[in-house]
């Protein structure tokens, strides 16, 4: 590459081989996705030769009732799971940060288990659990999504707790005491001082929970039934049986949704927030 200034010894990123390596990695990561998105506009049943630009597969996808239903279901689950995970996760974080109590180590350890245990085991556990307790299977929408939502909340809220806890660690306790010193009650101090401090982590946690839920396949696969189809499960069956650009179109929609969400969060956090958060 053409350098205007000599490369300092520690400026590894400016070295050619480093840039090539990163470039190739990025290519590796993004090429499949980009090709997929491009071919969603391909006017051909098969996915390999470019025949012409068309939007007809988007039309097909949006008109595919079961696909749309699956999409709506997934979004609903993600939305509900996010809200509840946020509350439970934030409460868990505050509980661990603020209080000493018997068996605290045990509780803390148990709370990180849903993250560690392999998804397949969690999926199996929920399948067995809901079968054993005879969870009702003919509830109206959206209650029929309750089993899946409960499963999602269970593996999402520890992540939220982790994110919020990290932020709580940097809280200056004297601020809370100052609020109380000025007359605030326990609740007022929490609302006026602690909550604003953890707000960024709540946003990050919500985003994390939403993505984890929307993204999940295995656990959803095990907890959904014939009348509670979710998006990943639907796409899975489409991929297994009939691969058409419709799948590409549906996937592209989801990708765009994810990217949009990410950028909204970025706008809110500031781009710096990403590197700071680590």
């Amino acid at each position: 590459m053409f350098n205007r200034t000599a490369i300092a010894p520690l400026e590894y990123t400016r070295k050619l081989w480093m840039r090539s390596w990163v470039g190739l990695t990025m290519l590796f990561l993004y090429a499949p996705l980009i090709v997929l998105m491009i071919f969603s506009f391909n006017d051909s049943k098969r996915n390999v030769v470019w025949k012409g630009f068309t939007l007809k597969y988007y039309e097909k996808a949006l008109n595919n009732d079961s696909l749309v239903e699956a999409m709506v279901n997934s979004l609903t689950i993600a939305f509900l799971a996010t809200i509840i995970s946020l509350v439970i996760g934030a409460l868990a974080a505050v509980m661990l940060w603020r209080f000493r109590f018997p068996f605290k180590g045990l509780v803390e350890g148990t709370m990180s288990l849903p993250i560690i245990v392999p998804e397949i085991c969690l999926g199996v556990a929920f399948l067995i659990f809901f079968a054993k307790v005879d969870w009702p299977t003919d509830l109206p929408w959206p209650l029929n999504l309750s089993a899946i939502t409960i499963a999602h909340i269970t593996f999402c809220f520890p992540f939220v707790a982790m994110v919020v806890r990290a932020r709580l660690a940097s809280f200056n306790k004297e601020e809370e005491e100052a609020a109380k010193d000025l007359g605030a009650t326990e609740w007022q101090a929490f609302r006026d001082v602690l909550l604003p401090h953890i707000k960024p982590s709540l946003v990050a946690g919500a985003l994390l929970a939403f993505t984890l839920s929307l993204d999940d396949f295995v656990i959803t696969f095990f907890t959904s039934g014939p009348d509670t189809i979710t998006f990943p499960v639907k796409v899975y069956s489409m991929v297994r049986f009939s691969v058409t650009p419709e799948v590409n179109a549906a996937s592209t929609i989801l990708i765009i949704l994810t990217v949009a969400l990410t950028f909204i969060a970025l706008k809110y956090q500031g781009v710096k927030g990403i590197s700071d958060a680590h």
């Binding site: 010894p9 520690l10 590894y12 990123t13 390596w21 990695t25 590796f28 499949p32 996705l33 090709v35 997929l36 071919f39 996915n47 390999v48 509350v87 439970i88 996760g89 868990a92 509980m95 603020r98 209080f99 000493r100 109590f101 148990t110 709370m111 288990l113 849903p114 560690i116 245990v117 392999p118 397949i120 085991c121 199996v124 556990a125 929920f126 067995i128 659990f129 499963a151 909340i153 809220f157 707790a161 326990e186 993204d215 396949f217 295995v218 095990f222 990943p232 796409v235 899975y236 991929v239 691969v243 799948v247 996937s251 990708i255 994810t258 990410t262 781009v271 990403i274 590197s275 680590h278």
Partner: protein, 300 residues
């Protein structure tokens, strides 16, 4: 930190929901699975928890043990490849100019945020017999062939598309594709915390870049490496979707076997036993890692 007894009401208000949820929707299901692993099928819909160890015995037969070991091997290979690819990327992000850093991080993380299924499917589309990868390889082949004619040698035989999918190669590639971002993040975290003046000191004392890398950077980034390895190895070990979609009949991993017990074979107790064996394997891995971490602490 306050003692819970000094503020019983706030504590109750805060602690009830998480603890209750954990107990009801995590501990209870896991306990039932554990109990089932000691049971057997007693009729089309009933499971009799008889305290039998048959399921565990069956799980240790060579048929299943070999799949276990193979899964471990595949996961280890995936982790190794992710580490090799990911470390320079993490270094590049660490040493990039501050204004580019968040964008590079975003670039690496964005694929992670797209649906696993979509990512796998996208990769598969490229790897099919008519996919772009095969096309690309075909071009390279033809190019090599043409070069040979230039030199006066016989051209190569016509290119036949290589079977890239539905085999172990595909599974490993797929797993690497999915887990790479996971590896980069802890590596970046550890490298970021590294005191850069240590690298400068090493260079100042005469060591070349590679030596510095091996003797200074890697040892100090070790905790990050271990974290990255754990974050990649454990999920890879329990992977279901990638081997299911991209693997062939002999590329089954342990998660696929477990799934079969529930969706097809209807042998829930056996599936429960397999699940718990997988969990125990994970715990052993984690225990090994924390033992190693404690040894390092003692050595200091």
């Amino acid at each position: 930190m306050q003692d819970w007894k000094s503020q019983k009401k706030p504590f109750a208000a805060i602690a009830t929901a998480p603890v209750f949820w954990l107990a009801l929707f995590f501990i209870a299901p896991m306990t039932i699975v554990w109990l089932y692993s000691f049971g057997q099928n007693a009729g089309p819909a009933d499971i009799d928890i008889s305290g039998t160890l048959d399921n565990y015995k069956r799980a240790t037969e060579w048929l299943y043990l070999s799949i276990f070991l193979k899964s471990l091997a595949v996961a280890a290979l995936t982790t190794l490849i992710c580490l090799i690819i990911g470390f320079p990327v993490a270094m590049a992000i660490t040493f990039a100019a501050p204004k580019w850093r968040p964008w590079l991080l975003l670039g690496i993380m964005l694929p992670f945020w797209t649906n696993l299924l979509i990512r796998t499917y996208a990769l598969m589309a490229l790897m099919g017999t008519n996919g772009y990868m095969n096309k690309g390889l075909g071009e390279l082949w033809d190019g090599a062939s043409w070069l040979r004619t230039l030199v006066g040698m016989q051209p190569l035989d016509a290119w036949t598309p290589v079977q890239l999918l539905y085999n172990n190669f595909a599974v490993v590639l797929g797993l690497v594709y999915v887990h790479l971002p996971f590896m980069v993040l802890p590596l970046y975290s550890a490298l970021d915390r590294l005191d850069k003046s240590l690298i400068e000191a090493s260079l100042d004392l005469g060591a070349g870049h590679f030596k510095t890398f091996m003797k200074v950077v890697v040892p100090l980034a070790a905790p990050g490496i271990v974290a990255g390895v754990m974050i990649t190895l454990i999920p890879a070990l329990g992977a279901y979707l990638t081997p299911d979609l991209m693997g062939g009949t002999d590329s089954q991993m342990i998660a696929n076997v477990i799934e079969r017990q529930f969706k097809r074979a209807n042998d829930w107790p056996f599936g429960a036993a397999l699940s718990f064996l997988l969990i125990y394997a994970m715990f052993i891995l984690i225990a090994l890692q924390s033992m190693r971490a404690n040894k390092v602490k003692e050595a200091r």
